[in-house]
Symmetry: C2
């Protein structure tokens, strides 16, 4: 091949061409004010001519800061997580950071994932993998890596989090369903251990109770469409007026089960509200009422926090909460029956 073993361009080469030393090159490029404008220009010209690109690995080794942020996700099959990752990648990119992405699930333990990230000297870790939060916290602690948990309601652990106000979100949903005329309710919970799901449920129940109402039924399922659709059957044998779901995935599964498996109309026979306001929720085939978390804002704050922690790992943890907002759509329209 032509330039197969063409020497890579380093500060040394640039220095040689510019008639300066590597240190001068380094300083010129980093904008050190002690370098004469004339020299800087010479160096810049040389760097440009050779197509010099600083070796960020070497810089990372020296500086003990790589500009790499570890991102842990668990279930990219979920549209919500996919959307979050997309925003994260963009936001990190615009902040001059580079995301090193790993997935964490049954076959890939949280500890192994964090260990690998730590090996790559990531400056901080952002985790979007609720089911593994506890292990991730422990593992980051052990590796002394700053950590930001995303999409997580504040808890007792001393760790930085960024999330929506789940309790309030649950309450919003309850209020809305009540206002739309529902009188019997059910909650569709996520996997049993999920803190997220329990926080949302708590708010939902609390708001119902304020109006002297209770929750007639409760089912739960793993956060997967197929599992959820199966689980939904139990509820649809004797459906309530309205169901609040721990997230949109569960809501979509419930709606499909209602419409296609149980022959119910949504809305009409059943109102459904979800959580996350996924892209899909806005499409006419679902037209799902959902609690919006302002994901871009969440992501922006997570990145800001990660930067701050990378800067000063000893900083006290901050638990950041974003206010949720209800987006009313077709699945919670008043049943046509009430209009006649």
């Amino acid at each position: 091949m032509a330039g197969k073993d063409a020497k890579r361009v380093t500060t040394i080469q640039v220095a040689a061409l510019a008639g300066a030393s590597p240190s001068t090159v380094s300083r010129a490029l980093s904008g050190d004010p002690r370098i004469t404008e004339a020299t800087r220009q010479r160096v810049l010209a040389a760097a440009d001519e050779l197509g010099y690109r600083p070796n960020l690995i070497a810089r990372g080794l020296k500086n003990r800061a790589t500009g790499i942020i570890g991102v842990v996700v668990t279930d990219l099959g979920s549209f919500y997580h996919a959307e979050a990752l997309r925003l994260l990648v963009d936001e990190l990119g615009e902040n001059g950071l580079a995301p090193l992405v790993f997935a964490c699930h049954a076959r890939q333990s949280a500890d192994a994932v964090i260990a690998r990230m730590a090996g790559y000297q990531v400056d901080a870790v952002i985790a979007l993998a609720a089911p593994f939060d506890r292990e991730i916290v422990a593992s980051c602690d052990r590796s002394r890596k700053p950590l930001v948990l995303m999409n997580r309601y504040p808890g007792p652990e001393p760790v930085s989090t960024v999330g929506g106000d789940f309790d309030r979100g649950g309450a919003l949903a309850a209020g809305h369903l009540i206002a739309r005329g529902a009188r019997s309710f059910a909650y569709f919970a996520g996997e049993d251990g999920a803190q997220i799901s329990r926080d949302r449920e708590a708010g939902f129940l609390r708001r119902l109770a304020e109006d002297g109402l209770g929750c007639r039924a409760r089912i739960s399922s793993v956060y997967s469409y197929d599992a959820a659709r199966q689980a939904a059957a139990a509820l649809l044998a004797d459906p309530p007026d309205a169901v609040f779901c721990a997230n949109d995935t569960l809501a979509f599964a419930l709606i499909d089960a209602a419409r296609h498996d149980a022959g119910l109309r949504v809305p009409g026979d059943l109102m459904v509200a979800g959580y996350d306001n996924t892209t899909l929720a806005a499409r006419p085939s679902y037209d799902l009422t959902s609690i919006d978390q302002d994901l871009p804002e969440l992501v922006a704050r997570a990145v800001r926090r990660a930067r701050a922690l990378a800067e000063d790992p000893a900083a006290a943890p901050v638990q950041d909460v974003v206010l949720p907002r209800l987006v009313a759509r077709g699945t919670t329209e008043r049943p046509p029956a009430m209009e006649t």
Copy 2:
């Protein structure tokens, strides 16, 4: 904080504890056969006790191989790309590689993205960003980074690609629609420059021609749901029997436009087939007939190719093609009219 400035554990510390030298530690951990079993055990014990994790950045600097693979994506909003990224992350992880992910779109030029990746000394780049392929090829060439283009039909450029057989896929769709009784056809193309879309179209038209049929209409749109749904209106004023769409996103938009904007039944008034067999296609609300690309296989091959190129950057480019498969679903059922 307690261990704030606890020295990081390096080979030096391990060596000291094991009563050996750093070089011995390195060799013991890398399984060099020249090291005595006894020594190896001592080293392993020491490493374990101190919780030693090799610094992969330092290793990368020394070895000129980081184990990092650059991944370029463009539109994570698309479910197809999100799914592909999920599989990529898993596959790379299982191969002991780490994906450094960047998005490339209007605000982030391909060249800037590749330059940053090159700065991080990625061993190879996998690109899933068809619209930017040309610039990416040029940029990787300049940085001498091995490149694998994903989801790309073989072209004249000397670059490694992994993709489905788009031409054949288009033909499959045509054959299926003909068999289902359609007699007038339309093609819903992606953005005009998109090679992908043109390859699929070519196969579609060729197969139609084999039966003496033609394509009555053709519309095109950017690959975004909203834009596509608007663009679809033009076609639905005078709908053909069947529409083949360059990908599922376009198909979903078309279906929604037909059902909710134009008041048509799908199927019934209109058959629709898509491409990619996205998760969503299987759900009852769309139940979309689509061409499946065997994405997991595509991804596995891309990773394999990337590893090979990382090993030997001078290796000749390989253009890898996976056979597509048609998955027939509800949107191409025979119109009920024909059953009565």
